[in-house]
Amino acid sequence: MVVRSLTGNYAVAYAVKLARVQVVSAYPITPQTTIVEKLSEMIEKGELKAKMVRVESEHSALATVFGAASGGARAFTATSSHGLLYMHEVVWWAAGSRIPLVMAVVARSIGPPWNIHVDHQDIFDQRDTGWIIGVAQENQEVLDMTLQAFRISEDPRVYLPVMVGLDGFILSHTRAPVDVPDQDLVDEWLPPRRQPYVISPETNVVMGNIAPDEVHYLMRYSMHEAMERAKRVIEEVDRSYAEVFGRSYGGLIECYKCDDADILVVITGSWSGDAKHAADRLRSIGINVGVARVRFIRPWPRERLVEIARDKKLVIVFDRAVSMGSLGPLFMEVSSTLYPYGTSLAGVIAGLAGVDVSYEDFERAIKTLVSKLEEQGRLYIPQFWLFPEGFESEEKRLEVARKWL
């Protein structure tokens, strides 16, 4: 075990190397680029025995690693934002084929206008596809989650591809000390690749030709069942990883001081760290805040969330994305999960387009909502757009817009 100073992107690259990936293919897009650059270096220096296919687009990148995976190799790609949208068709195709695969998504907002900073629109846009979607908070977790992704994806109870999300620039380009596990330990812990079938002259199978509607429906149901089983597999993998490597994150949801909390924040991504800090500060002035950091948005950890959140006085969801024309996607999941329990709910939209949200912003928002709760006794605020100080009123916003124009 070596502790290195790694950016989130390099953490991904080291995990891919430890997993002994055999085929890598990706197309550069900020802020994913250094993942692939590092992997190229590792391959060319002989540190990783793999083939790098330098394709001409993201659509081709995912098609290439998918092709490689269906041929029997462990394969990997990474992308962001527009690249992820470009390969969206292949994202569905890969999931439906039930071939295990791992992809890193460096979260970045979607244009126009062009913007390379973080928000979660690109990741949440993939919810329906059938991929297992994990989102990390910090670089150590990025490495651990990426390693775990291979084991989760290749588990016969799952056989679904896994996306590992990390925030653009905040994690991808910022260095932190990361414990890089030993290769021999990883070799013991991560079994050799398994997949439900291989395309080869020996098996003579055909993947994907037309099926009767009822059978296709059953195939979809089979994916659904696999997603349900995946919840257990993710928890198992988290525990097994802790036994061997000494680190656990709590499985599907990381529960930060949430057992005795009155107010629960539900959130995902790197800004969870700021939310946790705000929670600590609020506790010191008597507001009992806890943070439920959702690590896997798919499969949605419904049962675990109910366990944690059902009896809280108020659940505040922070969304770094919005389903335009409706609510924040995380809020929609949480509210439909907690509906039977009548919990007070608030959905905050913040941090879109890379706008920084500090722990003070979190504090302010939570305090405002808590006082509203005290006034009204019960609360249901499905959408509350959080603006930085100075932007709260309509006039102020118009002023800013006019000045900018």
């Binding site: 439906g96 016969p156 439900p196 003579n204 199978v205 993947m207 195939m219 089979s222 069942e225």
Partner: protein
């Protein structure tokens, strides 16, 4: 050549979009015909040009140097009749 579903460690159901090569993947295509090819075994020299061109692989080489038609699946396109160098195949109305 059955394909899954199978039970995964007693926990349910796995069905992937997998197929295997088999005859009749759309049914008995012989029913599509309006004309059928008939081989005149006297004229047939066993050159196998018809076998080469048949899009359906429904012309079979018989053991004795001639050809026969698999009428279960022959779609009656008529390519065999058209390419036979000896005009040994006639297209006859079905029915």
């Amino acid at each position: 050549m059955t394909v899954q579903p199978r039970i995964v460690r007693g926990e349910g159901f796995f069905l992937a979009p997998i197929s295997r090569p088999a005859e009749g993947s759309i049914g008995k295509t012989g029913t599509w015909r309006t004309m059928r090819p008939v081989v005149d075994l006297e004229k047939c020299t066993g050159c196998y040009v018809c076998w080469l061109y048949c899009p359906e692989n429904t012309i079979v080489k018989t053991g004795d140097g001639k050809v026969a038609i698999d009428y279960d699946y022959c779609k009656g396109c008529g390519v065999c009749a058209e390419v036979c160098p000896f005009k040994a195949i006639r297209m006859v109305e079905e029915g």
